[in-house]
Symmetry: C2
Subunit: 360 residues, 2 copies
């Protein structure tokens, strides 16, 4: 970010604003609503964020860039994460309009907007800045096991799929753990987490040989002065497209403990994208595989389940958590809907055990 | 490659020419010796490739770029793969000298030499070409399970570590299988394989989200008109630095069968680099983990073991293969030193089983 005062975001989510399709938009609205002036999606123009998402209050959805600018936006934040991360062609003209009209741009796309000659020229003309969140540092190392040696407890969220709530679970936990007296740091590994925290590396955007090295670097950085480091997970160990990122992150960050994240109503990998050829196996299989594969580099235990129940009634949600706990023998809660306490306690216990191990 | 006639390579391996330290150099010498005029390594100047490697005949090792040029080199091929893949600073001056002196450059480093202003300018002056083997295509997809549907048998080599002989095993197999009447294609996924085959994608050099997508694309491409596709493996499922590449490649290529590659005398991951903190577990554990993790996306079996015994006597080598076969119940041979037949037969049997499965 280049603005000293907080930016006022217009979130661009055209054609995709919704509970499961606009992950970045939704997290910025959930955690930094005071920075959002509007969402741009022609399909929902005239409604509010709350109408579309079930949270986010009266933030208006507008149908054009001009309306967003008129509401005082100082920044356009790209709020969708399309498969592959590339910029829809039609958006280029809107972004040019925004830059010339006095807005900065914040983007987590794989296509770096600073490399787009039209947008770079518009930024120059408007005197504005384009921030490509996913552009990795140039000097990443190959991982060398440094995260194995850390003193604080390292906790990684792992998932049954993309977009099940791995980042949200940790953002819910970090404040609660700090209140309970554990000095807790969140380590962002994806575009949205970096936008919220202001630092991190998008590990899915680094050159493949350096995934673990990037994870190692930011885990070590996050560990300074912390009792607990919560590393944001990515993808899933059986995701046909992204499993490499998941495993590199797992072996680079060397977590002592993992929290398994799942969306209770999801049956297929990627089915929020209608790509339903791979059925999600039982949670107990994930627990076993994640522990097995993590343990080949650094011993790690799944200590709890974070269940995403956004599309259920309270009764259904409670039943889903109880089923998962019964199947796996692990504490399970939806840390957005219910009390996160079972997960706080699981993390505190793991931290206590690690201190005891290191003392002997 | 830009030359219509075969290039005459000077292989640059300064300070690192040796049986385990100059993987690219060694494979080019093994499979394309007729294209190599000399190796540049000041530490071994005056010796021959055979003196240093135990193969490669009378190819001379020289101590300067000028000597290599005098021997008629038309191309400098970078023959070492340093951790991280970056260019040693001292080499830049040599490469400049070569370009100005009329040589092309072929490089598999992560640092693209075309992006180096000094080298790019020297290439322009000399009218020569720099080929960055690892530069990935710009339009890679996220993998979508396309390789699951292929008709030919897909075989991936998987390893207990980097640099154990995954590519060499397959290059040994491909000619033999073709002779036995199976139309067999080798799919290169790393710099050396691409140099030898003339096509492929270095999957360790793509943006992390596209590892599996890159693997999928070249596996599908290699399958055309083939009975068997041999996909070059990378890294190891428990390599602390590179496991993400390994898993992305595994899930993107959807192999039906795997060949596990191991160097018999190696005890620690990376110990050829003296980074010995992670002990290599038993082969049977690799068989189990590779099958488990592959099977979450596409069912796959380890069908044989390729043992690298380069530093053993024949008796020791035979004993190592027998121990591995006894431990895992799988056929095992060193396809460089001994008859590869047990691996041919394992692949033919797997191909037969796949045809039978698809027919029902």
């Amino acid at each position: 970010m280049t603005t000293a005062t907080a930016p006022k975001h217009l979130i661009l989510a055209d054609g995709d604003f919704g509970p499961m399709t606009s992950k970045t938009a939704n997290s910025i609205i959930r955690y930094q609503a005071d920075r959002v002036v509007a969402v741009l999606d022609r399909g929902h123009a005239g409604r509010t964020a709350h109408d579309v998402l079930g949270f986010g209050g009266g933030i208006p959805v507008v149908g054009s860039m001009a309306e967003g600018l008129a509401l005082g936006a100082t920044s356009v934040l790209i709020g969708i994460a399309p498969t592959g991360g590339r910029l829809p062609d039609a958006w280029r003209e809107w972004l040019r309009e925004a830059l010339v009209g006095g807005c900065d741009i914040v983007s987590g796309l794989h296509t770096f907007l600073n490399d787009d000659p039209i947008l770079a020229e518009a930024a120059r003309i408007g005197g504005r800045t384009i921030t490509d969140i996913r552009r990795p540092p140039a000097d990443l190392p190959v991982a060398g096991g440094l995260a194995k040696q850390l003193e604080p407890l390292v906790v990684l969220t792992v998932g049954t799929d993309c977009n099940v709530g791995k980042m949200t679970a940790q953002l819910q936990l970090v404040r609660g753990l700090n209140k309970r007296g554990m000095r807790t740091r969140f380590v962002a590994t994806g575009q949205t987490g970096i936008m919220i925290e202001g630092w991190g590396i998008g590990v899915d955007a680094v050159v493949a040989d350096f995934i673990a090295g990037a994870a190692e670097r930011i885990t070590v950085q996050g560990a300074e002065g912390a009792d607990v480091v919560l590393v944001e997970g990515q993808g899933s160990i059986n995701h046909p497209g992204y499993s490499g990122v998941t495993l590199g992150l797992l072996h680079g960050s060397c977590p002592d403990a993992m929290i398994l994240c799942h969306q209770a109503s999801r049956e297929y990998i990627g089915d929020y994208r209608k790509a339903s050829w791979l059925r999600i196996p039982p949670l107990s299989e994930y627990v076993e595989v994640y522990e097995r594969i993590a343990g080949m580099v650094h011993p790690s235990k799944v200590v709890g389940i974070a269940m995403n129940t956004y599309d259920m009634t309270d009764d259904e949600a409670r039943a889903a958590c109880e089923r998962a706990a019964a199947e796996t023998g692990l504490p399970c809660t939806d840390p957005v809907r219910f009390d996160p306490a079972p997960l706080y306690e699981a993390i505190e216990q793991a931290a206590h055990q690690k201190r005891a191990r290191r003392a002997t």
